[in-house]
């Protein structure tokens, strides 16, 4: 009797381990209600203090990275730029991309400004001291860390690979993974802006 049950258990386990599905409507992940609303106090690329209030009223896409980032950051920012260019001009006006550098030691405001300006005026660089950055990353359940510097002093930084989309009220809405195409992102943003 018990032996039969154990065989049954094994079969059910094998079946349940293979289920995974994505929400249908969005290419990104719907995170409404899962993460708190946009809030931070950081430094702008003009070295002035800024908070979320300077950006409310617009949709904000929050992304964590650093300017020395060899791969994820430039490709993600380029993909976001390409996605924005697919939207109508009026929609593009309603979106900011907030690039938060988690490497304040190397990313001085002017360097951050040069970096984000290369992508476009809607790209805004932000950074802050360790405490401010940690408060923000912890709030959005993300982490960052530094690797050991090599002989030239260069080091790797681990950071979140996804972008977080907030609506005009500052509510967390979508998480855009780095495997989404520009078309998928554009479609999601268009849907979100029209909702």
């Amino acid at each position: 009797m018990t032996a039969i049950r154990l065989v049954f258990i094994a079969i059910v386990l094998a079946l349940t381990s293979a289920c995974s599905q994505e929400p249908v409507e969005w290419s990104g992940t719907d995170i409404s209600g899962m993460l708190p609303e946009l809030k931070f106090s950081l430094q702008s690329e003009n070295a002035a203090p800024v908070s979320e209030q300077d950006f409310t009223g617009k949709y904000n896409i929050l992304f964590f990275g650093y300017t020395y980032c060899p791969d994820i950051c430039p490709t993600t920012l380029a993909r976001l730029k390409s996605a924005l260019s697919k939207l109508e001009a009026a929609e593009q006006q309603r979106i900011n991309i907030l690039f938060v550098s988690v490497d304040p030691k190397r990313d001085a405001p002017e360097q951050l400004k040069a970096y984000t300006d290369a992508f476009g005026s809607e790209f805004i660089g932000l950074t802050g001291d360790m405490d401010a950055l940690q408060t923000l990353t912890k709030r959005y359940r993300v982490a960052f860390g530094y690797g050991k510097p090599d002989e030239t002093g260069a080091y790797e930084v681990s950071h979140s690979s996804a972008a977080f989309v907030f609506d005009a009220d500052g509510k967390a809405r979508l998480l855009l993974r780095d495997d989404l195409s520009a078309d998928m992102i554009a479609k999601d943003l268009d849907q979100l802006l029209k909702s």
Binding site: T2, R5, L6, I9, A10, V12, L13, T16, S17, C19, S20, Q21, E22, T29, I31, M34, L35, F64, M130, Q134, T137, R141, V142, A143, F144, G145, Y146, G147, E156, V157, S158, H159, S160, S161, A162, L175, R177, D178, D179
Partner: protein, 286 residues
């Protein structure tokens, strides 16, 4: 993470403050110490080994939940697997091995000890629920099933992103571990399945855990992208993180079954010694 050198205080400071963990730990440890004192005063001291096992179990469970370790467990897959190894296997194992219930009960205030809990309204619901959960095939299924459940990639994703789900996951792992290991390690042969059946259960739960661990270890694609999405605590290759995590899911849980089987053998030996002695004891009494 701060890059200043860690001190005892920074290491022991919880990453997320869980009121439930603090409350349960404080109440449990207080009750246990009061119970130990009371039992010693009444001439039935608790053995050192039992108390040690209890405190080790509570301490390691607390350590993985409520220190800086929790930070790493949230942002590295292998550290998360270590956290669950302690929550589901090691911590509850040591606590159940100590059979602490009588000591905890002795630590309750006199008024509460006098209450006939089973006569209270609703008590049958708890007793009945407990009996169902401890029905051996169901208990074994839940023990393994809960590991598979939280490791299902889509569920794991939300559990690591949503703090409420994260707490639910950790609590469910610990409570289910406690139920299962108490079913197995209960020293009384009259309560729960026979020692022989317990060995069979321990062998049965090894198989799916080994398969799951091997699957994660040998998987060439990234199964859990949430760690890339949220960023890792330090730069480590995702493949290495997943492989180490897989090995932790694979080997130590299977070893815990082996260790528990040794405990079962010692229980059987003790039972044999007691039954060999008891006829003599009976004649002596007569």
């Amino acid at each position: 993470m701060p890059d200043s050198a860690p001190t005892w205080i920074t290491v022991l400071t919880p990453w997320e403050f869980y009121p439930s963990v603090v409350l349960v730990s404080l109440v449990t440890v207080t009750l246990y110490i009061r119970g130990m004192r009371r039992l010693r005063a009444t001439g039935h001291p608790v053995s050192f080994a039992r108390s040690l096992s209890f405190f080790v179990g509570v301490a390691i469970t607390y350590a993985v939940l409520h220190t800086q370790f929790d930070y790493y467990a949230q942002y590295l897959f292998f550290a998360h697997r270590l956290q669950h190894l302690v929550l589901h296997h090691l911590g509850p194992f040591f606590i159940a091995l100590a059979a602490p219930w009588s000591v905890l009960a002795a630590g309750l205030p006199q008024r509460w000890r006098d209450v006939n809990w089973r006569a209270l309204p609703g008590a049958w619901l708890i007793v009945g629920g407990y009996r169902i959960l401890q029905f051996p095939p169901l208990a074994a299924f839940l023990f393994v099933g809960i590991i598979f459940f939280w490791l299902t990639p889509s569920i794991h994703f939300y559990a690591m992103l949503d703090l409420k789900l994260y707490h639910l996951m950790n609590w469910s792992m610990f409570l289910d571990g406690l139920l299962f290991w108490w079913l197995i390690l209960n020293p009384s042969p009259q309560q729960g399945p026979s020692f022989g059946w317990r060995i069979i259960i321990l062998l049965a739960i090894m198989v799916p855990q080994i398969l799951l661990g091997a699957y994660i270890t040998l998987s060439e694609s990234t199964l859990y992208d949430i760690y890339a999405i949220c960023g890792r605590a330090f730069p480590i290759a995702p493949a290495a993180d997943q492989m180490v995590g897989g090995v932790i899911t694979w080997i130590p849980p299977a070893m815990m079954s082996a260790i528990a089987i040794l405990v079962m053998l010692s229980y059987i030996r003790r039972q044999d010694m007691v039954s060999a002695r008891s006829p003599g004891a009976l004649t002596g009494a007569a």
